[in-house]
Amino acid sequence: MNKIVRHPASFKDPAGFIFESGGKIYRQVNQRYADEFKLLIDSGLYAKLTSQKQLLSHSAVADNFTGDNEWFTTILPEQLEHISYPYEWSFDQLRDAALLTLSILKTAITHGMILKDATAFNIQFHKGRPVFIDTLSFGKYDPEKPWVAYRQFCEQFLFPLYLEHYLKTDMIPLLSAHHTGISASLTARLLPWRSKWNLGVRLHVLLQRNVSERKQEPNPRITFSKTKLMNVILHLESIIKGLKNRYSEQTTWSNYYDETILGPQYLAAKEKLVTEFLTGMEFSTVLDLGANDGHFTRLVASMGKDVVAADSDSKCINGLYAYAKETKSTNILPLVIDLSNPSPAIGFGNNERAAFGSRMKSDVVLALALIHHLVIGKNIPFDLVANYFASFGKILIVEFVPREDEKVKQLLSSREDVFDDYDERGFEKSFLRHYSIRKKQVIPGTFRVLYSLERI
């Protein structure tokens, strides 16, 4: 009997839980959920949602892995390549996840079921699209009750989107600190004055804040209906559809593009070298650190590899996501990550949601036009950077950007130069503690050096 490892975040729902066994992720369904599980299938809801690729499909497994008395059945869901969390998503990714949740909710209602929860953690990005993964989230629909997950939906989807929309700055990372969502009262406090003119804000933010802060006697004379529920859902949907990302408005620089300093020949030459370095190697997954506008993400994606693109600039990541959607690409996952402060492990016991590093191991790591930002920009020594990169994967394609480079001169011009060992020798000294050099070549027309390193 294989060893069972229960997922540390999967403890809140008595209907069942996720566990890992033999390298695969399974979901146990408990007796108390048996009726609803059967209804999910019998009502045709499961078939409808999986055919539209909105719900992660699964196959039934007859075995009781855990030996629990509570056991009803075990399902083996389609396995995901990567796990990402809402606080790592760009505006459009969160927005699409929100719209998916509402779409599934509407479909469920027409099949006599409803979503019992609406947490953003129910969504994962799979083959380029958001997909709902919590098969046990469906409950029997009672038209006389309002939606039990409405507040949660607002706190995890609507409010963060509103905040980014009105404040025009990155607010989604707040979801890491507020991991159950941002409350109505906090949202109300942060939103600017002009937002209060908006009906959606008045209804879903302010009204919710006002009502939830009251302490009244119990008097449960609430009547509801399907029409009323649909009114609320359709309103939420139209609000979210109307929220657009701020990036097209902004003409600000977005760390754009290091490379423009050096001209287009540089980019072409680098492309050629990177392709050359990767040819003949066996690999299927790539992690592009500091992906910027995703130029090289797209390059490896076109080789048929599975790529995760990480960059701290949400505008870049949002743009890359838009590109992936438009081209219907199934092998690019863009995420907003600050490498000097990547997503930490959070939740109870710091165990519910894993840190970025532990979720993102891959065969090849790209660190192009990045090292100078970490070492000079963020004061992180070569040793620590080398160690960090080595924790991700076996092969590292890294671009060393020396002092003579225009970009480095720019970085050093506005600060004190305390980087005595910032040169090729210092770089190699640190990196050769973790790697051996497979290939090394100067990028023609520049002072930059491209390395292909293999972890020892």
């Binding site: 009750k145 309002p146 939606w147 039990v148 997950a149 409405y150 507040r151 949660q152 607002c154 209804l203 879903h204 009204l207 919710q208 006002n210 009502v211 939830s212 009251r214 009244q216 006697e217 119990p218 008097n219 449960p220 004379r221 609430i222 009547t223 509801f224 029409t227 009323k228 529920l229 009114n231 609320v232 309103h235």
Partner: protein, 59 residues
Amino acid sequence: MIVNMILLYVDPGSGSYLVQVIIAAILGALFYFKNLWWQIKAFFTRKKEEPPVEDKPDE
């Protein structure tokens, strides 16, 4: 705001049931008046057309 006048209980964990009732009521009213307005508008922009005639299906 009407909420001051209604004494109903909201459990922070209940999903904001009361809020949904109020929102649904407000949206329902808004939709009613919006619909009314569209009907009025449609009546005036369509006055030149013949009213639609229903064909009775032959048995």
